[in-house]
């Protein structure tokens, strides 16, 4: 098979554009994460993540994001393999050329960011996909759904057979169990819209009865970052992200040909500031939860 030859610069332009898109994504993600710190019982955070989970434009961008991430990884790894092959015999003496550490370690810091992503996916995204058990929450008004209400009406009017009544009663028992648990343990959110912090065992019986069971990322985050070892691993991987980002933006500008004596210092400075803001923003959440909760 003859693959069309793609020029090195074309590949790099794709990596740069995708990288800039990922930088913007990180800012949005960080903004939502910071909502976790509001002392509102998660109202803002739930509203934001609910918007991200349901909005159709966001759903389209979710696909774009994954495609972008995969393209970024595949192309950079392919380029890196070519780069290693371009020097089959290495120097005996380590390079003493004046270069930045961040720029020389992109593939390694990128690898660490990938490790972080795997960890992050197992902890959060896989729960959403139902691959891993986490904590769950239910919209309060969904608990006693219209369907159940109709069944209730039918039952009181004697329109149901004995078997159907028995089935309805078993459903109601399960729903009641959650309502009772929520009341007893204070699981309702401040605005009473959600019943939160439910385990997989709590939610399992509700399958097919209650719609709108969603992963409770709010309580999952608090539990996860309450674990010090885990938080520290997260923070260490953020250091790798910081190194990756410091070089990322200025490098993308250079690859896109956006280099100008007047603006180079600004671009370099902005890359640093952006990287620091992103990483500090993300790091604030585990640090806060680890130290103050």
């Amino acid at each position: 098979m003859n693959l069309p030859k793609i020029a090195s610069i074309s590949k790099k332009i794709v990596v740069a554009c995708v990288g800039l898109f990922l930088l913007v994504f990180l800012l949005v993600h960080m903004g939502i994460n910071l909502c976790l710190l509001r002392p509102d019982g998660g109202a803002w955070y739930i509203a934001a993540s609910n918007f991200m989970g349901t909005n159709y434009i966001i759903k389209v961008f979710e696909v774009v994001l994954f495609a972008a991430l995969i393209a970024h990884i595949i192309i950079t790894v392919a380029l890196q393999i070519q780069n290693w092959k371009a020097r089959p015999v290495r120097y005996h003496q380590p390079s003493k050329s004046k270069t930045s550490t961040a720029s020389k370690t992109m593939i390694w810091t990128g690898g660490l960011v990938f490790v972080f992503l795997v960890l992050h996916f197992v902890n959060f995204y896989f729960v959403k996909m139902g691959l891993v058990e986490g904590k769950y929450m239910i919209q309060t008004e969904e608990l006693f759904s219209t369907e159940l209400q109709n069944e209730y009406m039918a039952a009181t009017q004697g329109k149901l057979s004995e078997e159907e009544v028995a089935l309805f009663q078993s459903k109601m028992e399960k729903v009641n169990a959650i309502a009772v648990k929520a009341e007893a343990e204070g699981l309702s959110s401040n605005d009473m819209k959600w019943i939160m912090n439910l385990s997989a065992e709590d939610v399992k019986p509700l399958e097919g009865i209650v719609e709108g069971v969603e992963p409770d990322f709010y309580n999952m985050s608090y539990e996860l970052f309450g674990n010090k070892v885990y938080s520290i691993i997260y923070l260490l991987l953020f250091v790798a992200l910081a190194f990756h980002l410091i070089h990322a933006m200025q490098s993308a500008f250079q690859t896109l040909g956006l280099n100008h004596n007047k603006y180079n210092k600004f671009i370099e400075g902005f890359s640093w500031i952006y990287a620091i803001i992103i990483v500090l923003g993300f790091a604030t959440v585990p640090v806060y939860i680890m130290c103050f909760v």
């Binding site: 020029a7 074309s10 089959p88 003496q93 270069t99 070089h247 280099n259």
Partner: protein
């Protein structure tokens, strides 16, 4: 001054190389690096110790681009903006051990000892690094107007002597600084602009084909270029590439 030299010796392109240790004594601090190697070679020949160490050189005044050694982890050694022939022994400490290696890149195979084959650069130039019309005699001054800043930038880029230090320094053995200098100095001038779009594509295609690595914007090339060619040329190359691709007619 006295030095211990660890020099890469390799009989031919296929032979397995190794480092050999030689000692040189009573070297003047004003000696250039290549003169120091000449002294070593004379002693190797007269004392019948070994075959003299092969290394490339020509003008010995820093403008031909022939010399180029990887000295103690830096192409052209521990000084900025100079070629190996313009590097003086005063830049080293007395008694220092100096590691001397050839350029290392797949596209620059070692021919013997410290001499590498840089034909790859010629091939890139042959792919399009020229103006294809005969320019004739010297035109009347000011018959083609060129802005001062453009002329300066073109001249800065044209300073490239094609020594290969950028490839040698780059962790990816990328030739982007060389190609960008050649693309820039022509694209900036009216005579070269006509063929700019075609040129950049052909030269980049050839560069990829020859097995150079990909630029990761680390800028070791800029740090080591004996002619101080700037990274802004690489950005210009990228711009030229994008414009050529976007505006490409088939």
């Amino acid at each position: 001054m006295n030095f211990t030299l660890k020099i890469w010796r390799q009989e031919n392109a296929k032979a397995k190389g190794r480092f050999e240790t030689y000692k040189v004594e009573n070297i003047s601090s004003d000696c250039s690096f290549l003169e120091m190697l000449d002294i070593l070679n004379e002693s190797l020949i007269s004392n019948k110790i070994a075959h003299p160490v092969c290394f490339d050189n020509d003008c010995r005044e820093g403008i031909c681009g022939m010399c180029g050694l990887y000295i103690n982890g830096r192409p052209h050694g521990n000084d900025d903006g100079v070629t190996t022939c313009q590097l003086h022994m005063r830049k080293f400490k007395d008694g220092e051990t100096i590691w001397i290696e050839p350029w290392r890149a797949k596209a620059f195979p070692v021919i013997r000892d410290l001499v590498v084959d840089r034909t790859a650069y010629d091939k890139i130039i042959q792919a399009g690094g020229y103006v294809s019309v005969s320019t004739g005699g010297v035109p009347d001054a000011n018959s083609i107007l060129i802005a001062k800043d453009k002329a300066d930038k073109a001249m800065d880029a044209a300073e490239c002597i094609g020594c290969g230090a950028c490839v040698a320094a780059c962790k990816n053995a990328s030739a982007m600084l060389f190609v960008s200098a050649k693309v820039s100095h022509l694209a900036l001038l009216p005579q070269g602009k006509v063929e700019a779009a075609n040129r950049v594509q052909k030269m980049v295609e050839k560069m990829d084909e020859l097995g150079f690595g990909n630029c990761t914007n680390t800028y070791a090339c800029e740090a080591e270029c004996p002619k101080l060619i700037k990274r802004s040329n690489i950005a210009r190359l990228n711009r030229e590439w994008i414009c050529a691709r976007v505006g490409k007619e088939k």
